[in-house]
Amino acid sequence: MIDERLRDDLRALTDALRPVPDPFERVQLRVRRDRWRRIAGAMAGTLAALMLLALVPLLRPSGGAPPARPSGPDIERLREWQQRLLASPARGALAKDKAFTDALIAATYAEGEKLQPFPPRGGTARVLFADDVGSLRVAAISYEINGQDPSLMWYVADRGASPEHLGRAFDPNTEVTAQGGSVYDPFIRLALNTRSDKPENLLYFGLAPDGCTVATAPLPAASAWTDAPTGSYVVRAAADHHPEWWRVTCGKTVRYRGPMPDEPRLGAGPPSAAELATATARTRGTVPPNLSGLVNDSLASTLTLRSSVVSGPPQVLWADLVAEGNGLPHSPTVILAAPAVGGGWFGEVHSMVTDKAGKTDLAQSQFFTESDPFDPVSILVIPVGRENDNVLVITPPGVAAVVTGAGPVPVDVMDIPLGTIIGPITSDTPLVRGVDRNGKVVATGKLLRSDNGQANQVNAWAEP
């Protein structure tokens, strides 16, 4: 039976796939970008050395013309911090060995001339970091050419490698698995992974401008801060890695506070029966049986609620069909929530929305609330929609209608189990009141704010 309809269903699954534009041009670009890695990889093979080189353009993307420089006071402040970072003394035990760093820079130039015109002569090369970390030797070098925004390259080799080997050997499988911040973020945060299936080769870096202090705090609370013994930078090898938040203080101002670069904690897959029971223990209302698949998928796939911005696993806050109005089909919807590091709760809405053309798509939105959303007597007013231009209201039992704003415009929810979409509710009318059948206000709620996990984090490099 399944094999009979499998062919049709597989075709239906792929019918509407539309390629990203310019597929041929994108292949050409990929081949050009791969060239450096392929040639260098071949060179590494002939050297018969187990040296690894991570070629990671960080501060400026590689390939193509340099991006246009943004401008404005915020960018100028970020650029000042970036210059402070680049002007900082090199960090790491090997960075103080001038003979080593000079030889390393010379090796990267020599290798660049053989293989590809990078790094080009005539610019300024600065070693920002060089040290042995775990089983590896790592260096970061910035190259600034003709006043363009600098490029940062990470070189990774076996522990104890000579500068000549470190500067020329190459492993095409080395990659950055996580990277924080923007191209102008003065706190470089990244995780390097050689993809060699050796977890000991995972490295985590945080590099702040000299004079700033980096502190770390372990999850789940991320409240017990300890200054990093290395001062203005922090390095974690796989052996001493555990999820934590990092904080950068410059003077008396906290310029950054947030999760270390790390991958979301995936891999749980669909929840077991026990996990599902735990995740639904406080669910408001009853999950319809035909939404169990979406509940499982939502729990398995959520990224934010399994990342280092939450201090506990995602739980099912609510699940049901949501009325879209305008004659559109009701949307199967699941709302998850998890406690946020630093306090409050993050929530995530997963909704299967069907448009007028009959196309169904997964719509997701995220929110933050300071109070416990599982409180059964609270009203939740959750921003949803592509532009967060509607709200989903979840009401406690006994609420017959909700009233928004100064002018009471009741929305009939008497026959709806729990949820409905109303809107828009603007910031001028943030308060929602739930009234019983006699018109008495029995619960109130405020419009929750959209947030994709940034609440409780600090990124204040652009501030004076």
């Binding site: 597989l10 699954l13 792929t14 698949g293 009701h330």
Partner: protein, 172 residues
Amino acid sequence: LTGQDGFREFVEARYTQLLGIAYLLAGSSHEAEDVLQSALARAMRRWNRIDDPVAYVRRVMINVQISFWRRHRGRELLTPVRPDGPVADGSEDVLRRQALFKALRTLPPKTRAVLVLRYWADLSEADVAAELGCSVGTVKSRASRGLARLREHLEPPTEPSRTLTQPVPRRI
């Protein structure tokens, strides 16, 4: 179809078809684009030495997915629902196909590849065996096991939607 013009022609003619296979193998449109682009980049470098470019690109994509799966075993990201695609029919079909899509992702990559080549690309068992470099018997057994796994995962048809009987609230 030789030279760069021939390769461009091939890409333009076959891209959507190959993207479909990549999508079923990889499980998301973003990852499918990446897998296909990677395979085409490899094909471009060997273009004048490839006899059957469609089969070549398919093989590369399958190998890439198998090696990716090995590297990321245990932390494969499950896509909750088909991220894009038309739904011109009823919701039960949608739910069934979503269940199928999800079930497909739970299969070992070689088994998934057998089912995709056999039922999506319409290759014979012998052609699938040739493409995957295994015996016809292996193809048969993998297809059989794969279909059995799909049967285990696929839920019975969902109950009639409550949306038909639910009142629709007024919007304000």
